[in-house]
């Protein structure tokens, strides 16, 4: 059974790009201070679903949705809600590391600066980099370009950048897909630590990863015109060892997808 206290919820959420429905009637609870994984084959709306949580889909002109997305009980898509207010409470880490072509320091300081942070910026940057387990590697070269870092370091820098605006939720869209196995393990370790204070939602293609790091797993798939429907959602241990739906079982045992 799921415990109460969801931080994010979707209720009968369907997402459309123009006339195409890419997420179909998903109702899902994301619990506070837990890691929730969204898995499923390619093209089943995992990223789209994730991007509903911080309204990144707003950037796509043809995007519209039906149903509700609740953040701490409030509908994110109420007309009175400003997307920029949402986005610094619900941070996002992308599939490919996307550091800004600025110094390491300025990358982390960017969010606090634009959101009008008044405290000690240097302290905040150090705290964020430490939190993202990259401080020791970059503390002597904060002024050098973020693009000089390796892919794994860049991704941890992007996590530090997200932490610097002190979000409550971190969304991760296949954060390890362009990283090597060692960098992947470092990020996974980091996610486990961060989940003590943050709620994390991760989209991943890698089922081992979902099994390793997540507390809860949602399995999406496409059937006919019902693209991006939620087949099964539950504790990861149960999903990966004793799935209730035979389609979930077929997917996690590698029979399709």
């Amino acid at each position: 059974m799921l415990q109460a206290d969801p931080i994010l919820q979707t209720k009968d959420l369907s997402v459309y790009y123009g006339a195409n429905r890419v997420v179909t009637e998903v109702s899902l609870d994301v619990l506070r201070n837990r890691i929730t994984a969204i898995i499923g084959p390619s093209g089943t709306g995992k990223s789209t679903l994730l991007r509903c949580f911080n309204r990144m889909n707003d950037l796509i002109p043809t995007f519209h949705l039906s149903g509700e997305v609740l953040f701490e009980g409030n509908n994110l898509y109420e007309p009175t809600v400003d997307a920029t207010d949402i986005r610094y409470q619900i941070g996002m880490v992308f599939q490919r590391p996307n550091p800004f072509p600025k110094s390491i320091f300025d990358n982390v300081a960017f969010g606090p600066r634009i959101n009008g942070y008044n405290g000690n910026l240097a302290d905040l940057v150090e705290w964020s980099l430490q939190r993202a387990a990259i401080w020791d590697e970059v503390k002597d070269r904060l002024k050098s370009s973020a693009l000089s870092l390796s892919g794994g370091q860049q991704q941890r820098l992007c996590i530090a950048r997200t932490l610097a605006v002190e979000p409550t939720v971190i969304l991760m869209d296949e954060p390890c897909s362009s990283l090597d196995p060692i960098a992947t393990l470092a990020i996974e370790e980091l996610m486990r630590e961060l989940s003590e204070e943050y709620s994390i939602v991760i989209v991943t293609h890698n089922m081992q990863q979902a099994a390793r790091v997540s507390n809860y797993t949602a399995f999406l798939m496409a059937e006919g015109d019902r693209v991006g429907q939620l087949v099964e959602f539950g504790e990861s241990r149960q999903i990966f060892t004793n799935p209730q739906d035979e389609r979930t079982e077929a997917y996690i045992t590698g029979r399709f997808g």
């Binding site: 990144m56 950037l59 941070g91 992308f94 996307n98 800004f100 634009i114 997200t162």
Partner: protein, 292 residues
């Protein structure tokens, strides 16, 4: 069994070899002709005018005597024109490009604007001269001044600047914008802090290259009434003016051999200014790219 008989193949191979050589020679000829003409021009101009290029030529005003004639007023006129045109077209061009790339999306107005900008880039420069004469010289009452000339040249190069700035802005990866939005940046903050700094070197290159086109323009300036004989330096934005290409045009039309030399010398100065600006564009671009 082979599809092509060996004898056929050998015969064809010979022919293909010759075709290849002929094509190579043709290409070589093309580059030789193109560069050769340029070289002939440079040598001709150099031989005729080089002895004429000296400090007194640069610092003197035009004169009826070819030996005393100089280009100070024309050179200063050109410099001021280019500064005015550069600033005006930079501000308007980047603004328009940001609107079209970041705000407009795919609405009808943007599509029409886009098509028209591409068309405007192909409008003959003399047409801009007529527009400048009507709007800046007459309607706005600027007279036949540096300001009117600079504005006219700004209009002339605006389409090219918009297009090159759009390309520079488009080259900024969407992931950078997404990164900004995901941190709670507004659209304005994302454009100002992330997109424009990264597009800046490309924008600057476009501006400098267009401005070096403007510095060689003659026709629109003649139409708006630039002078060919200006024995004074421009003393303000509303001053009357001449410009290098106009001075050169004026000298080439004179019968005396001395003025032909002066014209060649003027062309050398113009070319040096042009090359200098292009070099500046390259240096600035490299420096900005290394920094980021």
């Amino acid at each position: 069994m082979a599809v092509i008989a060996p004898t056929d193949f050998r015969k064809r191979k010979e022919r293909r070899k010759w075709q290849g050589r002929a094509f190579f020679v043709l290409c070589l000829l093309a580059i030789t002709v193109a560069l050769g003409m340029l070289l002939v021009l440079l040598i001709y101009i150099g031989m005729k005018g080089w002895s004429h290029v000296n400090w007194s030529f640069i610092s003197s005003f035009p004169s009826r005597h070819p030996d005393e004639a100089g280009i100070q007023s024309a050179l200063l006129g050109s410099v001021y024109l280019v500064i005015i045109a550069g600033i005006v077209s930079f501000v308007l061009g980047v603004g328009a490009a940001v609107y079209l790339e970041e705000y407009a999306g795919r609405n009808r107005f943007a599509r029409i604007a886009q098509i028209n900008i591409a068309n405007l880039a192909g409008v003959p420069s003399i047409v801009y001269g007529i527009l400048g004469l009507e709007i800046f010289v007459r309607s706005m009452g600027l007279g036949k001044s540096l300001l009117a000339g600079g504005f006219t040249l700004a209009l002339l190069i605006l389409p090219i600047i918009i297009i090159s700035a759009q390309e520079a802005i488009r080259a900024v990866p969407p992931s950078i914008r997404e990164g900004g939005y995901a941190l709670g940046a507004s659209r304005w903050q994302t454009i100002w802090n992330l997109v424009l700094p990264q597009a800046f070197s490309g924008i600057l290159t476009g501006v400098i290259l267009s401005v070096s086109r403007a510095i060689g323009e003659t026709a629109p300036l003649i139409v708006i009434g630039a002078l060919t004989f200006v024995p004074f330096s421009p003393d303000g934005p509303l001053s009357r003016f001449s410009a290098l290409p106009i001075q050169i045009f004026n000298w080439t039309a004179r019968p005396q051999a001395g003025f032909q030399e002066a014209a060649a010398a003027g062309i050398i100065v113009l070319l040096i200014v042009l090359l200098g600006m292009n070099a500046l564009a390259v240096i600035l671009r490299n420096r900005l790219e290394n920094r980021s």
